[in-house]
Symmetry: C2
Subunit: 384 residues, 2 copies
């Protein structure tokens, strides 16, 4: 396979394989040396102690080429930051991770192992995570089916974790209406986990994507579930928890979303149901906004029907003559006042572009010198 020979891809595969999850130390090494050089020094052990402590057990096992072969055999691929389908803006939030200590070591994934027909960037352009307990009630599964089905019909990608219960119901509902759904796994994409979802995950990969930051062959483990939850949150415009017990992985996903500045939502249920206690607690503590259906959710995560999926329509509307900018950045630029700063949220409301698409557009506008940022927010550079 041609792509496997690409030295950058090979280096990313190596880093992914030996690091096994996020690491700020490895991230810094790559930032200072480039990934190819970083991978070479990681192999030799000539790296800062923090990096070595993390990788020493696996540094000698150079299974990168083998992992790439394995994913290719599944008709899959390794997606890396230089690929067009890398959803760079989805991971910008990790740059500002200075809050919760439990999240400080968790940056963007080094690469994503993917089996699926969908482009990761395109499928996560307008995406909502629908997650919850494995111990779902029939009420929870029913409500998940309604919500995920309605979101998928409205063009939202439904992101979830592939687990039994709420996750499975969310994937199934999106598939059922011919929508796009993405499963983020805590093990290699070659593993069907849980085993009973082997067929469901195959269907997810056929119309959407099955994703992992862990190389093929990796077994699920508790700490991998926690790291996986951050990818679910990162790939989504918001996280909806449908049912969750008092202690639930779904609350961990919600916590990631919160620290990434994404809306967290929870669906209430009967107060007599143990499977809703986590949702009620999150709403009560102000950790999540109460939502009752897809309409509430769309109102939280963006402006209904004007997501970045409408690029063609936006092109027709705005043309590409304004400084040769793509339509969405041009539209966001148009939402700036002549002077004064705006928040991402305000720009989203004023432009009718989703928050995640505004973030993406601001990267373009900043690079092109049309916009800048200071402590009061984003401001326009140059006249109207």
């Amino acid at each position: 396979m041609t792509r496997a020979l690409d030295p950058e891809r090979l280096a990313r595969a190596y880093v992914s394989t030996v690091t096994q999850g996020p690491s700020r130390a490895v991230e810094q090494l790559i930032a200072s040396r480039g990934v190819i050089d970083a991978a070479a020094t990681m192999r030799t052990g000539d790296v800062p102690k923090a990096v070595w402590d993390r990788i020493s057990a696996r540094a000698h096992l150079d299974s990168a080429a083998q992992s790439l072969d394995m994913v290719a055999a599944l008709d899959g691929r390794l997606v890396i930051p230089s690929d067009e389908e890398w959803p760079a803006w989805r991971f910008l939030g990790f740059d500002r991770q200075d809050g919760a200590p439990d999240k400080r070591d968790a940056g963007a994934p080094f690469a994503l192992w993917v089996v699926g027909s969908a482009s990761i960037a395109a499928s996560s352009e307008r995406a909502v995570a629908v997650v919850g307990t494995r111990a779902a009630t029939s009420y929870g599964e029913h409500v998940t089916a309604e919500i995920a089905g309605d979101l998928a019909v409205d063009g939202w990608t439904v992101v979830s974790g592939g687990a039994y219960g709420i996750d499975g119901a969310a994937h199934r509902a999106a598939l059922g209406v011919g929508g796009c759904t993405v499963a983020v796994l805590a093990c290699g994409v070659d593993r069907a986990y849980p085993a009973g979802h082997e067929r469901l995950l195959r269907r997810v990969s056929e119309s959407g994507a099955v994703i992992s930051e862990y190389p093929p062959g990796t077994h699920p483990a508790r700490y991998r579930f926690l790291a996986r939850n951050r990818v679910v949150a990162a790939l989504s415009d918001g996280v909806v928890v449908v049912e969750a017990g008092w202690r639930s992985g779904a609350r961990n996903t919600a916590s990631w979303a919160r620290s990434l500045g994404r809306p967290v939502m929870a669906v209430p249920g009967p107060v007599t149901s143990a499977s809703s206690t986590g949702c009620h607690r999150m709403i009560r503590e102000g950790e999540a906004r109460l939502v009752t259906g897809a309409r509430d959710i769309a109102a939280e995560v963006g402006v209904i029907g004007t997501g970045a999926g409408d690029d063609d329509a936006q092109d027709a509307l705005f043309g590409r003559d304004l400084d040769r900018l793509p339509a969405t950045p041009a539209r966001v630029l148009d939402a700036f006042p002549a002077s004064g700063a705006r928040s991402v949220q305000e720009l989203s409301v004023d432009s009718g572009v989703t928050v995640s698409a505004v973030r993406s557009a601001l990267v373009v506008l900043e690079i092109e010198g049309h916009a800048g940022r200071d402590e009061s927010g984003w401001f326009r550079i140059g006249g109207l």
Copy 2:
């Protein structure tokens, strides 16, 4: 009956009968002339136009003595502000009614017609309103029974509106555990409304109280339900809505509680149930705090187990030597810092005394010259 001959009581009965509900104009007339003189001028029509517009249709019908006879025949009474059982502090919130235009004309009741064994002041000392839709589901009635029963066992009076559905379930649950419950009616206390609750209301009056600001013989009417809701809110430390449709009288009660500064709470339910849509909306819009049971409710309305009902224990603990103050005001005074202002809520937390009891205590402390109020809150006068 001796009390009926009391000229102040007779005057209040007249005002109540001819005004039929709250009126700021009548309130001002009473404040400037005293109630006996005010009633005399109302009879002759020699009153400001705003008063006359309100009472002209009924001013000549002096049925006050007859109303007092009717309530006496029911073993009831008219409770007026000079009575010991008048819960003055409950109505203080109306003095600061400057917000919502729909509430500006609504002050304290001029008097309360009562049938019941309980003192109004004592029974509303620690009280929670539990209200909701007439179209309750079995889920709603079950949850109401749990909540109202638990509150009553913990010594809270359960206040409600005597209606079918949630209201009835709340009264019944309090009675079922031998607790105290108060029904506030939108008609005369001689009327059983709804008719199917005749027996329930009699049981409520036997162990608690059935109350109305309308004289005996008054029929229920839509505007009387709205005014009645304000009395439900005023007599309670907080309002819990168990089930409510999209448009519901319970939301009106909640709105009164909010403008009186009392906590508003709502119980969630299945998002598939139309009877919970009002609750979900209130929680979603930030109008109500989500609660799942009596424990959550107690946490919202006051400190558990240290309500003003514990006066004896507090007396033993604090003595009455501090400036000869009653125990609760002394305890609240003790919660003040040497300098700086505190809110009622902060004083409640610091003293372990419920918010309503703090309000009551502050009236005493202000009269006795121990505390004052400015725009930043309440402050102590004199040293520690």
